[in-house]
Every structure is written in C-alpha cells, then in structure tokens.
Symmetry: C2
Subunit: 452 residues, 2 copies
C-alpha cells in the first residue's frame, strides 16, 4: 500500500503524546463491577473525543452511561468504532509489580489496569485519527464512536441502547473493541462469536438439612433431584436432549471449513496447556476438532453445589442443590427460545421442582469472511505487520456483537494491540508499545481505505 | 418389682457424690477429633473403675487407648457395658451459657460438654454399682466395662480391638453406651442400627479449569462425568441400580412390623420439623413409612462440589468434581462387598475415570426384640419410669454395634439418661438430674435381674 509514509511518520514521532494520554486515561479508575469512577471516566472520554472535533455526548442508560461521538468526513461513508471505558477490578493487588492505576512503562511495555482491555485500543485509534487530521486537515469518512461502560459486567444495557438509537448509530461497517496477534506474531481476524444462555438450576427439597440416617429412605434429596434433572439435559454421548434444541441451528458452510483448515492445529497445544488426555466425541485433532470447537452448541456444567463439601464424611441429606449451566449457542439459536425449551423439557421430564434462574444471554453473531470490508482490513494489516492475518470465521467465546451485526446490519471486524501475554483481567495487564504503534498504523489505513 | 427400696434410697441419698464425680470427669477435656486430653482421661477412667474394686487396664490401639475393667460377682453370668470417654469438640464456644469444661447445675440440669454423650452415662452406671456394693457387699454377677476413646470419630479402631480380645470381652449380654426418653417421657429401646458405607466419588477430567467457550464442545467435563456416573447409581424411582446391591438383604419380619406398628406415627412430626412436602416412593405415613425409614438400604448424595459456586455466572469448565455418597445398609449387607459392587458397576458403565475413596463403614446389627434379656430390661424400665418402654426393632442411623452383636454374639440393649433437649454435639449439652437418678435405678435393676 502506498501513501502512508507521512501518516506512519506522524504516528511514530508523536507516540509519547499518545502514550501520555493513555496514562491519564488509565489513571482514572473505572470499575464497572464496583460502580467505581464510571461517571468521571465517561466525562474524560467525552472530552478526549471533543478535543479532536467530535460532537460528543454522554447518554444515560439503566446502568453506566454510554459515550457517543461523531465527526464528519469527506465522503458520506460512516465507520462505527466500538470501545468500552470500564475495566476489570484490579484484585489481587499484591501480585501487581506496579500499582494498577499508576501506569508505568518498562522494557517496551506499558503496565496498568485497562491498558490492553480496552483503554489502549481507544487512544491508539485516536492517535491514528490525530495523524490523519494533522496531515490531511480532515477525515476521509464519517466516524462514530460508541464507548460503553459495562463491557466487563456483560454489557447488560447495550442491546437496548442500540435498539433505541438505530438512526444515531447508522453506519456502513464496524471496528470491534479488541484484536490481537497470536504467539507467531500473526494478527487475528475473529469474525464470529457464539451466543450464550447462562442459567442456574436449583432445587429446594426440604426445609432444612437432615441426618441421612433419618431422611435417606423417605425424604426427597435435593442433590439427587438435581443430578437426575441434569442427566436428562445431555447424555454421555454429548447429544443435548432438550426437544427442539438443535432446530434453528445454521450449520457451517464449506467456505467456513476452508477458513478453518488454514488455521494452525490446536491438538497438541490444548493437550499441553489444559491437560486434556482425550477429546470427547472421538475427536483427534485436525480440522474436525477446530470445527467442533466453535460451530457446535454446548451444554456445560460450570458449577455444582450441595450439602457437605469439606474433608471426610458428614452424614447429611441436603435440603438444597444448584448447578450453573452455560449453553453456548450457534447462529440461528436464541437464548430466550432455549430458556423456554429448557423449562418445557424439565416439566415434561417431571422436574417442575427444578427452578431456573436466567443469568444472562445473547445470540451468536457472524460477519461474512468474504465481505469486502473484511478483505480490506485483512490486506491493510499485512501492509503493517508484514505477515498475513488469520481469518477465523468463528470463535468459541461470546460477546455483545449481535446488535451490531443484526440490529445495525454491519460487518464487524476485530483489530487491536493485544498479545498472548497481555494479561487482560489479571495482575500486570500490559501492552507492547510496538503493537500499540502498529495498531494505530493499521487503523489509519482502515479509515482511509474504507473511505475509498 | 420388689427389693429395690434400699438401693433406690442409696442412689437418692448419695446423688451429690456421684454428680461430683461426673463434674470432675467432665472437667477433663477429651476431644478425640483434636487428640486433646485422651490419655489423661483414660487414666482418670481407669482410676474411677479401680476405686470400685475393678481390675482395670489401659489398652493401646492404633488410635486412642481403650479402658478395660472387670469385676467378679456372685454368679458366673457376665454383663458387658460399652461406654466412651471421648467427647465432641465444644465449638462454637460463644453459644455456651457456661464454659463447656466447667460443668454447672442450673434448674435441675447439669451443663457441660460430654455430660450426656457419654460421661454421665458412665458415672450414673457406676453410681448403681456403688449402691449394690454398699448395700449388698458384692455384685450379683460379673461386670466388664469397655470404654473407648474414639466414638466421636467413628470408632475406627474398635472393631479390630474387639476381634483381638474376644476372650477378654466374653460376656452374656451388653448394655450400649446411650439411651433416652422421648418427648412423651417414654424410654426408648433401640435394638438395631443400619450399617453404612460412606464414599467420595471424584473425577479429574483436565489439568486445569478452562474457559467454557473453549472447552465446552471438545474437552471432557468433570461435573458432567460425575453427574452421569451418579445417575447410573439410582434412578428417580429410588431403586439402586448397582448389580447385586440388594442380593444379601435380609427383609424385616412380620414380628418387626408388629413392633413398628406400636410406635407413634411420624408423618406430621417429619413434615413440620424438616419441611417435607411429600415423602418419596408414594409414602403417606403410617407403619409403611416407619418401616421404609429403617428397613431399606439407601444411596444418599450428602454433598456435591465442582467448579464455580459463587453468585452470578462464571463461564468455566471444571477440571474437578466430587460427591459424598452415603449408603445405609440393612442386615445382610457388608460395606466391603458394596464397595466392590460399586467399583464393578462404575467400570461396567464406562466410568473408570470416577475414583472411589472409602471414608468408613460398618455392617448393620440387630438384637432380637424377643430376646429374654431385652424383655427383662424393658420390664425393669417400667418399674422405674412408670411408663412402658418403646421397643424399636431398628433405627435409621448407624453405629459400631456390629462387633458386639456378631463377633461377641451378644444381645445389645440401649438404656440411658438422654432426653429430647439434651443437645449432644451442640452447645449447652445437658442432662436432667431426675433422668440421671432414674438411669442409675434402672441400671441397678438390670444388674440384679440379669444375675438371676
């Protein structure tokens, strides 16, 4: 790609100014889980946008406010950029080598809570915008920012906010909050996220725990009721038995398989990293393993609790038992529909006594890997990173991309400054300065190429 | 019954002396769970026996020592009395109204750790022996005491001790460590205890917990493996599915049913006390409920633990899961046999990955309710309590009576000073002084009638 010399030069020369802005931004705690510093941080973000000439506003939601900003450019094409200003709690504090809210640069890295997830992404993107504004006087297209404050607490109000602001958020494409390189320094393009439906199943069988010598033969046992109910959800063949569970599944295409085939094999990595002796369903690696990992829906028990859990024996019959169950959904499936089918199934199987508490959900969302916007982002990346971007049509995790893809109808791409040791959500969260610069350069290209 | 006026008078007149001995005995902590004061207490018990002319010794075991004492009497009949000198830990201390190891008499009760379970039983029995020795110069029969120090930690070395000392412990009948009156002031004669086989089932499926977005579709899940394994043990019809589990069950007799019919109905009491809405197996009270409670073997989940158990959601696939499972056994079943059948069953069902840890067990044991010794004890009780004793052929709980019944071949009776608010194992453990006196009088009759 040609014509990026001046922008790249600006980005390199003015790096310290951008890092200083990031330091100030990170020094403002904004912990959504603890409702700490959110208003102050939203105000700071608004001012950061206004400094560049954005028209910015703070929009209230039923939770933390959303910062919205908009700037006009030459063409009438509009790029929507999604970020979040909230961060994870910094605990455990004693494991940090420097204080989490006093960002520090050591050995080519900046350390601090939120530098990677997601504050560095915002300032790096603003640095790219600064470069274009400085060198060219105006932006080549319109840019809108949507910067929420509840990403670390499941973005519970984001879908409603988007649904209520479809006109305001209208755009032609969307850049997601994060992105990263893998251990081979290869940037990753994640184009799909599975959905999720997370529930707690609980049973209260008695008014109190009872000595098992009394109750064992004649009283209902909460733990048994739970185990029997769970065992109707999925058999050891791994097939989920809730009637209609698979009805709306949109299967992957041959094209998806082509993309998955190109990705590195994960068999050995998973065996080593997670201590897997054998994969389930007879899987033995290769493309089948990679396909199964992301394109099938799941029913995972995330936790079980009942009765006595200490050392040795206690002869007690538990009054209460509960399980955390996480359904990962694939395109086509909807959390509310799965919830209804789960209730109907438990009732039909004789488990009206099993209560369901819905703990959150969102449908899957995908962007077509052959979309021209995706192609452009991938090609721009190679110009910066000198190595082709991996195109990953789907990953196993979940996130709030559904309203961007479906309510707003946008192709959504991931790009960013993460790296395998970035320690998001953990002590000593950090970014590599070299990747910070590369992300800004990639962003400058994406904005300019998108406008063409 | 005639001829007990002088003994009763002695027991009444010398009560304070016996209560003082109990106070000294209770003031010596002897907590087996914490290995605290056991040797000192065993020495004290030996001296208490020697004071009455017993030949006493302290026998080492692989755990706490056993105190054995023997005294000759007129006839060659021998009565074996089983007690224990260890007590439960006193915690939580702040709930005691007077210090647990500083026994105090208030409102006709003595308070202190172990007064009821089981120290008061011993001194009350010795008080009866003192009365006979004082009034008659010698005992009418031989008496042997076996007083162990690990009853509160499952009597783990008692069975071996008995098996190794069959000659020493040879006797014609046995008095059990405890007994009580119920809420109607009616003394209870418990003649059978179910056996038990307590296991922990555990699964380690991975080297570490994994994000459920990665592992859900392709890695084994420890919680699922456990749920599936458990669900093969017992179905919602409550039938235990381990092949051969019921093979050796000796069913109750018509005579057992006659005894059970006479006992008070438990339906309303259980519904109120334990918040039972509905009994299992379609039971609705009456004799069927009482029979089912004690004469059927069980498979009870006492505890479940795996993965995330806190509030809200955590998307994790657990590496580890475990369950505590308590099998209550009826006469004929043996814990080691059940353990073997459980292992074979899990293997056959494809659950070689489920580990079994044996946490303790003993077989059931019963004494024939029509045994002449039982009849004599029951009749003697009515002479003291002025109300017929309930004869309970079997209770739901378990205890170490198997070696007494089967290795030593003895009829075993329960008699004692417990009452519904005696708070054994709890703060403010207490005995009622009136029941202490009645137990001593009952004991004096049992010793004399037994010798005839």
């Amino acid at each position: 790609m040609k014509g990026y010399e001046k922008l790249d030069e600006y980005i390199d020369k003015n790096l310290n100014q951008s890092l200083d802005e990031l330091k100030t931004y990170v020094a403002q705690p904004s912990i959504s889980a603890q409702n700490l510093g959110l208003k102050e941080c939203a105000q700071m973000v608004k001012e950061m946008l206004e400094k560049r000439g954005f028209k910015a506003e703070i929009n209230a939601t039923d939770g933390a406010p959303v910062v919205f900003g908009e700037i006009k450019g030459k063409s009438d094409r509009t790029l929507l950029i999604y970020n979040h200003y909230d961060v994870q709690p910094p605990e455990p504090l004693d494991l940090w080598e420097s204080p989490p809210f006093e960002p520090q640069i050591r050995d080519g890295k900046m350390y601090g809570r939120g530098v990677s997830d997601d504050k560095g992404h915002l300032t790096s993107r603003l640095h790219a915008i600064d470069a274009i504004l400085a060198e060219e006087g105006e932006l080549p297209c319109n840019i809108k920012f949507i910067i929420e404050g509840e990403e670390e607490t499941a973005s519970v109000h984001l879908h409603d906010y988007i649904a209520e602001n479809l006109d305001k958020l209208k755009a032609d494409a969307c850049v997601w909050e994060f992105g990263s390189v893998d251990h081979r320094e290869r940037p990753q393009q994640y184009l799909g996220l599975r959905g999720i439906c997370y529930v707690e199943l609980s049973v209260t069988a008695l008014g109190t725990d009872v000595h098992s010598g009394i109750g064992g033969s004649i009283f209902p046992n909460a733990a048994w009721r739970l185990v029997w109910a769970l065992s109707t959800l999925k058999g050891s063949d791994e097939r989920i038995r809730i009637p209609g569970f698979y009805d709306d599944v949109i299967p992957p295409t041959e094209r998806d398989r082509e993309f998955m085939e190109k990705l590195p094999d994960v068999e050995e990595e998973y065996k080593t990293r997670y201590g897997v002796k054998e994969f389930i369903k007879g899987l033995t690696g290769g493309t089948d393993l990679k396909m199964e990992e992301v394109f099938t829906p799941t029913c995972t028990i995330c936790g079980l609790t009942s009765g006595y859990q200490g050392p040795g024996s206690k002869t007690v019959q538990p009054a209460f038992a509960s399980a955390k169950v996480d359904f990962r959904l694939v395109p086509g499936q909807k959390p509310q529909d799965i919830l209804k089918k789960l209730r109907a199934h438990l009732d039909a199987e004789g488990f009206r006594d099993v209560e369901i508490t819905f703990l959150g959900g969102e449908p899957a969302a995908r962007t077509d890997p052959d979309h021209p916007f995706v192609k452009m982002v991938v090609e721009s990346a190679e110009d910066v990173y000198d190595i082709p971007m991996d195109v990953v049509p789907m990953i196993g995790g979940s996130g709030p991309s559904y309203p961007f893809v479906h309510d707003l109808g946008l192709p959504v791409v991931t790009m960013g400054l993460g790296h395998p040791d970035t320690r998001a959500h953990a002590p000593n969260e950090n970014i590599r300065i070299d990747l910070y610069v590369q992300h800004a350069k990639h962003m400058a290209r994406v904005i300019k190429e998108f406008a063409k």
